[in-house]
Amino acid sequence: MSPSRGLPRLLNLTTTRRTYTTTTTPKTPIELLRLSPNRLHIYRSTSHNPFFNLSAEDYLLRHSPPTSTILFTYTNRPSIILGRNQNIWSEVNIPLLHSKEYEDVTLVRRRSGGGTVYHDLGNLCWSVIMPRKVFDRDFYANVVVRALHSLGVTTATINDRHDIILRQKGSGGKERDLKVSGSAYKIIRERSYHHATLLLDSKLSSIKSLLRSPLKEFITTKGVESVRSEVSNIGVDKELLVGKIEEEFLAANGWKGEEEESVSRVTLDEEETVRVRDYIREGMVELQSQKWIYSQTPEFTLSIPHSKPLPELPGLPGFQPVLPIHSKFTLLSTTSTLQNIQLSTSPDPSFSFVQSQESHIRLLNTRFEGPPIRQKLSEINSLPEDVKNDFGRWLEVAVGEWKGAEGKVDLWRNQDGGKTLRARAAERNERIGSRREVVGEEATE
């Protein structure tokens, strides 16, 4: 155990009870978390900002006492939350997301694994942070199922994908499963979390339309693909359910009551928490960077077949270009940058080779982003004008612009121009000198 452990005890012996008067402001609960002696913690967030809630969750994962267990509940404003290793363009209907109707929907990539989900104010996120040794994919899903049962939702159960479903008896004794909660997990050294959605009163039509990509059929990805499920709302009151989940959480952890064991109950306010915890603020900056949202996309290939009308896109009604016969259209992208390009239309092998080579040279290292791809396409001299124009126009909309925080996020300087936690940590690790240079280049690219 740590050598400093004996010190407080020693001080207790030598100092009798004294009352201190202090002029500093009292510490907020999140500042005291690391040293909290409590085993059980219940956190609620009043913020609807997905970047804040995910970063606060990450803070709880990494900075809570190693043996503590924390229940954290929050609700996000309308947003699409991708799994860590997923492809944006095959999971999300980007043209629809960028349309006027959905302009209030935020695109987010989380740090945990799994598939893409949709959040809005009718959705409750619950998360349990626990020691890695007791990590189990179903334990806390069962806790939530018990909370649902106690509110009369008796059809709630867990399927083999660790999701909570409502099992409905249809006509003729046929069972029908409707997914109401999707789970994902994150495991680090000693700690882990299980977090999940819970559809109470969400806009289900948004899930159906936003999570259906027009590019999906053309993309082959090495990343993780979502498993599509039929969804449903549960329709219980959120406040009531949060209370029940907290009760069941305490019961599942063998809590006997406040007189025997005290539980930390904390309500997180975004502004205050971000002010006192740099880690959370910097986590939010990183989550909003294009490097995380877009470039984290694993290697993939976009391959468009010839002689087949392309799907109609929101924003381009009735526009369905067809690639001429003999055409080849393949883009290979790693970290969302084009690495191999093969575009040709000619039936003549030697000229199609020339087209392929020219397109490769022109598009190499272009970002996988609508406008730059259209621009570079138009510069390919060996491709016919109409193909360039039509495909450029279609691709520009289908792939879309990169949104979120602007391209350059400096992970080394905070808003006041001081060093970030990351920069300070790197300085402490100066043992290998080249390290700073390597990572430093990344930050300014």
Partner: protein, 176 residues
Amino acid sequence: MASTLRLVSRALPRASAPLCRTTAAAPVRILGTPLGRRHLSVTAPRLEIIKRYTEDHEWISYDTESGVGTIGITNYAQEKLGEVVFIELPDIDSSVEADDSIGAVESVKSASDIMSPVSGTVIQVNDTLNEKPKLVNEDPEGENGWIVKVEVGEGEVERLQEELMDEEAYVRYTQE
């Protein structure tokens, strides 16, 4: 059109064949390990493989001849994690510190960090895992399921031997 052809043909020797990725010829680097690095440790005789385990369930097998440590996750870890669907690999030539994350394993909706047991430079990553992440389940500690090879930094071998667990200790640790 003629100008296009000229432009293309001028660029031809440089352009790689489409859809054919080059893989780094990393083993060459191993031969290039500075001589001094090869006989680092007094306690480690030459031509020996030292295998150690971390509390985060990674293994490292250090080759005293080449100064290269091969890192992967243990059989115990892969059993706990379930079917691996994706591995995030680090960049070749990146420097890592002991306890830094050098990648992540995704399995059954969970993302788990892979921590480097040593400081050093990444000289090779197991590209095959891009195509077949399940190799980590099938052969986690063998020739197919390793994740990265690291040129181990100075002084790290001693630390490795002193601080990390040997097989016996690791087995005891997992049974606790």
